[in-house]
Amino acid sequence: MIKLTLNGAWINMKNINELTALRDKFKNSIAIRTGDTAAANGEKHVLVCGGTGCHSSGCNAILKKLKESLKTHGLEDKIKVVVTGCHGLCALGPLIITHPDEIFYELVEPDDIEEIVTKHLIGGEPVLRKVYHEAIVDGKLISFHETDFFKYQHKISLKNCGIIDPECIEEYIARDGYQALAKALTTMTPLEVIDMVKASGIRGRGGAGFLTGRKWAYAYLTDSDKKYVVCNADEGDPGAFMDRSILEGDPHAVIEAMAIAGYAIKADEGFVYVRAEYPIAVNRFEIALKQARDFGLLGTDIFGTGFNFDINIRLGAGAFVCGEETALLTSIEGHRGEPRPRPPFPAIKGLFGKPTILNNVETFACIPPVILNGPEWLSKLGTENSTGTKVFALGGKIKNIGLVEVPMGTTLRTVAEQVGGGIPNGKAFKAAQTGGPSGGCIPAELFDIPIDFDNLLSIGSMMGSGGMIIMDEDNCMVDIARYFLDFTVEESCGKCTPCRIGTQRMMEILENITEGRGEVGDLEKLEELGEHIKASSLCGLGMTAPNPILSTIKYFRHEYETHINDKKCASGVCKALFQYVINEKCIGCTICKRACPTDAICGEVKKPHFIMQEKCVKCGVCHDKCKFSAINIG
């Protein structure tokens, strides 16, 4: 057993050899978590997922119980317990994985721990009832790597998440951590670094997909006494949490990449702007920063090359628009996070008026492997103009809710049906929403389109940060559009006219439509306003705000028309446009009557009941409670 504590000799490493020696020292201890059974040498690791998802579902209690149990059985020195970052399957948390035998437990509860320890860790027999259900096929246990959720994935930016202890820099180093920084600093010129990033073809993963290398080159070419590297971790798309997972699971990757970027553009200071709603991520990142400084990987004269770099953390305060780069900079400068006109672009005049590059967390996480393995290593993956991989946060009506990383160019169908496991309850796919409030809804008939930046744009959606919400026949597309627009209206900064007033006006029209007051001409007006807001807004938020509406009108126009002309919501979502009615199957059991919060149901025992529509608030409780399918949407 190697104790992973700081070894004074390694602190403030001054050359790449020290780093490599440290890596080699810890390499084996990590290898056993990546399928290298030979490296295990009898060692056992139990990985407890400590991502926000598992945190919310109670992983701390699991961890406590696990440690107690191991102690009781005298195993605390023999079996190593590691808290890792996210594995992606957040809906099934708390998660536990054992190594080297790679048993993946789902929905673990404190009461399951004793059994797992005694039966599995001591007895060698996995507790099948808690094993990840997809990993049991026809009663036989398969490696979780072979399950659909994992086997189509290709992890680059998430490569360390769920494997290393994010609070332990040695584990990052053992996974070739900081080798890329060492390589850049000691063997490459800044221009060579930029050229390599350019050659990899990597595009910004947070929004419009601007070429990262080109952005760096602009900042490099701008002369200034001071430059900044800024990491955008203000992940605000509802449902998207890849940046958080990376910060929680592999914070050093971001630090290393930012330092590389600093070297490339000649900046000595970085800022990470992270959502305040991500306390675990902030905490782990702070720990990582301290470790990096302790090891001399941040600070002055890094690797003895004379290069100085350090990073500050700034917390967001709840404004989606701060994900827009100029708004983010304005926020760091201490103002209302309102975007400013470009040009000047941040690479020329950014933070505090100095040349600044901004990339998001996921983009940065891809940088170290590119530097280490060369540009082709990334560019051979993906499509011609969208290289590498992309992380998606799968959500909505899908079996496997969670975080997945797939090569660019993977089809939506593969992601939804294979990785995502399809829709529960055998319902039919209706659409996928990508790109959050900036993106659009893609109908099921376009599911075979390979996902990349340009394809998504061409069908009226966008990559955005990578949220992917799957919708089935029960989802009303007008309501979905209204939901996303409501988000944008709420988050509009209020600076420019089209976004401030235009989105509000679109919202009012949508509300009218969903509440039964739609009029002929509304759709045309929505389209006109939508196109207008796209064309004339000040920043990306406004320019993309109409996408959810325009795309749903494009692909689901009939649904809007039904709402407007027939005043009907076929999915039974828009409350004003449907009624609950009790049919002939009612036997008068009174369950619905008793459950109704507004006393809207009348009827005597054993006689058919009746809903008084004027009292009904359409909460649906009666519908859910009825055991006889006697209440339906009419």
Partner: protein
């Protein structure tokens, strides 16, 4: 700098390289409409009215902020551009109180003109929810009607960037964004200095002066009341703008004529009390210089300091004729209150001496006098209500109504007087037109220069390197710089002076005095950039004029020209001034002068009251 080639609407132009599209197009005789843009202080690209198309650009850039580049092809009037501009205008109109007919800015509203120019055919096309606001009219000088506000933020820029006061800002977010004070307090409950720069920045009727014309009309209609009026120096170079004149047009004769036709019983020129202020302030300066050991060698010639302590305040002496500045000092730099000249402003001196000395001469009971000033300034309205501004006592204010240039223009229009056809007339001879020194009070540096002319005399020619007492043109303190400094020799001593206009510059100067970096003896500060000619009560010029023309330079030039043409250019040489001291005040700084013409100040704090 070498020029670059661009194309505008398919025509080639060669223009300077550092222009924005807006500026380049203007050179090509194309006026692109703008709302939010204010040169240098509000380049925020937010209203999206000035959109143009640029070949190969991803979206339509805002002409006000987009720089031109070599080979750029700009299209200012494509159907897409017209449609976008109009749609944004219609969106603005959808959250704007469109009671245009009863709006104070009816016919001078930029939004109204733009609606006509861009051909808005249905102002209710995007009708929907509107933000609701209450009218705020409890401030001494400024009325805010946020229902008219279009969120262009020009007032915020005027307050925060131009004046660096920042009592108003953008609050809330999204559709609910509005312009307001912290905690939505009223202007009267925040440290607002009432300068009115927000008003002259406002394109619509969301900000305007507290109207006092009704009270004036009422007094005029009352046969038992003697209604006197005096017009401040700068009015003669701005009033014409309200009647189609060019900025700076000199209309002193028409001004006197129109005031007489409005029915005032006495029509006077405030230049007189500007001269009076010079007398008192120059004296105060000499006293403070002496008391502070600056003139200990006693090289004063024919003047001697009276034994009774009149002014033992510290140096530098700072002028106090700008009430916005005085209020600023009381809120933000209370440590300089002792430095303020105790002299009342010319407006207040006029009311004070009119209701005392001249009332006696005219055989009037001050109670029956309604004294009106026409001023370029909204803070003067506040000043008139200040405590310590009553020479007569008994709650009789020195000044009963202070009306701005704009209010006077409205009165003229209401009376149906054809301004253009008016003959040139003179102010009433009881109080003759003042000196050139009085005239230049209307511009930044003018008070300093006027005072120096008299101080030079008082100091018996020892000023100015000992040359002579005759120096008249103090070029050093003229011009459009925000802070001007000069030094003058008095015997073996150097007297340092400084002039600042705009509170942003005042702040800079005061801080540098505080830090010891600047060592000065006499300072002139005016709250508005450029002084009274650019006051918050002056005619509101639309932004397409303001952005491209230095209004206050035009207006100031006109004042200096008048000064140049005046026979008497030094206050102390005015026969009227001499007579007033002889008949009534004794000498400058006398106890009676102090009682009538001086006042006091107190710190106001910066706290917000909710």
């Amino acid at each position: 700098m070498s020029k670059i080639k661009i194309k505008i609407n398919n025509r080639e132009y060669e223009v300077a390289p550092n222009l924005t599209i807006l500026e380049a197009c203007r050179e090509a005789a194309i006026d692109i409409p703008t709302l939010c843009y204010m040169k240098e202080i509000n380049a925020i690209g937010s209203c999206r009215i000035c959109l143009v198309e640029v070949k190969n650009a991803r979206s339509m850039p805002a002409a006000c902020v987009q720089p031109i580049s070599e080979g750029m092809e700009i299209f200012t009037n494509t159907p897409a551009v017209q449609k976008s501009r109009k749609a944004n205008l219609e969106l603005i109109l959808s959250d704007h109180n469109k009671d245009c007919l009863s709006c104070i800015r009816n016919q001078t509203c930029e939004l109204q003109k733009m609606s006509a120019d861009l051909g808005v055919s249905d102002e209710n096309r995007f009708k929907g929810k509107m933000n609701e606001f209450e009218l705020e009219d409890n401030h001494s000088s400024i009325v805010r009607d946020n229902s008219k506000c279009i969120r262009c933020r020009r007032c915020i820029a005027a307050c925060a960037e131009l004046q660096e006061i920042s009592v108003i800002g953008a609050i809330n977010r999204g559709f609910d964004t509005s312009v307001g004070c912290a905690f939505e307090a009223g202007l009267k409950d925040v440290p607002c200095i009432a300068c009115g720069q927000c008003i002259v920045a406002c394109p619509v009727g969301a900000l305007y002066e507290k109207d006092e014309t009704e009270a004036v009309f009422k007094a005029l209609a009352d046969p038992d009341i003697h209604v006197a009026v005096c017009a401040a120096p700068s009015i003669r170079v701005t009033l014409g703008e309200c009647f189609g004149g060019k900025p700076g047009e000199f209309v002193e004769g028409k001004l006197a004529a129109v005031l007489k036709r409005l029915g005032f019983d006495g029509v006077y020129d405030m230049d007189f009390t500007a001269d009076l202020t010079v007398m008192e302030e120059a004296k105060e300066l000499v006293e403070r210089l002496t008391k502070n050991g600056k003139l200990s060698d006693g090289k004063l010639s024919d003047e001697k300091i009276p034994d009774e302590k009149i002014s033992d305040g510290p140096l530098p002496l700072i002028t106090s004729c700008s009430p916005g500045w005085v209020k600023y000092c009381e809120h933000y730099f209370p440590e300089f209150i002792a430095n303020l000249s105790t002299c009342k402003s010319p407006q207040q001196m006029f009311g004070a001496i009119y209701k005392t000395h001249f009332a006696k001469k005219l055989g009037l009971d001050p109670k029956n006098i309604f004294f009106v000033s026409v001023i370029p300034c909204t803070a003067k309205k506040f000043e008139a209500t200040r405590e310590g501004q009553s020479a007569v006592g008994d709650g009789i204010r020195d000044v009963d109504a202070a009306i701005t240039t704009r209010e006077l223009a409205r009165m003229i229009k209401k009376y149906g007087i054809n301004f253009d056809k008016l003959p040139d007339e003179k102010f009433d001879s009881l109080i003759e037109t003042g000196t050139g020194a009085g005239v230049i009070f209307g511009t930044s540096g003018g008070v300093m220069e006027a005072s120096l002319r008299t101080a030079a005399y008082l100091l018996g020619g020892h000023l100015l390197g000992g040359s002579s007492a005759d120096k008249i043109d103090f070029e050093e303190v003229r011009g459009d710089e925000g802070i001007k400094k000069a030094s003058y020799q008095i015997g073996d001593k150097t007297i340092n002076v400084a002039v600042a206009s705009g509170t942003a510059n005042a702040k800079k100067l005061l801080n540098s005095i505080k830090s010891g970096e600047t060592n000065v003896d006499f300072v002139e500060i005016m709250a508005c950039p450029g002084g009274c000619v650019n006051g918050g009560g002056q005619p509101v010029q639309p932004i397409r004029v303001r952005n491209f023309e230095n209004l206050w330079e035009r207006r100031a030039e006109s004042l200096y020209k008048d000064d140049q043409n005046k026979e008497i250019r030094k206050s102390h040489e005015s026969p009227l001034i001499k007579a007033v001291y002889e008949e009534f005040l004794g000498e400058p700084g006398s106890p009676i002068a102090h009682q009538i013409l001086h006042t006091h100040y107190a710190p106001r704090g910066k706290d917000i009251k909710v």
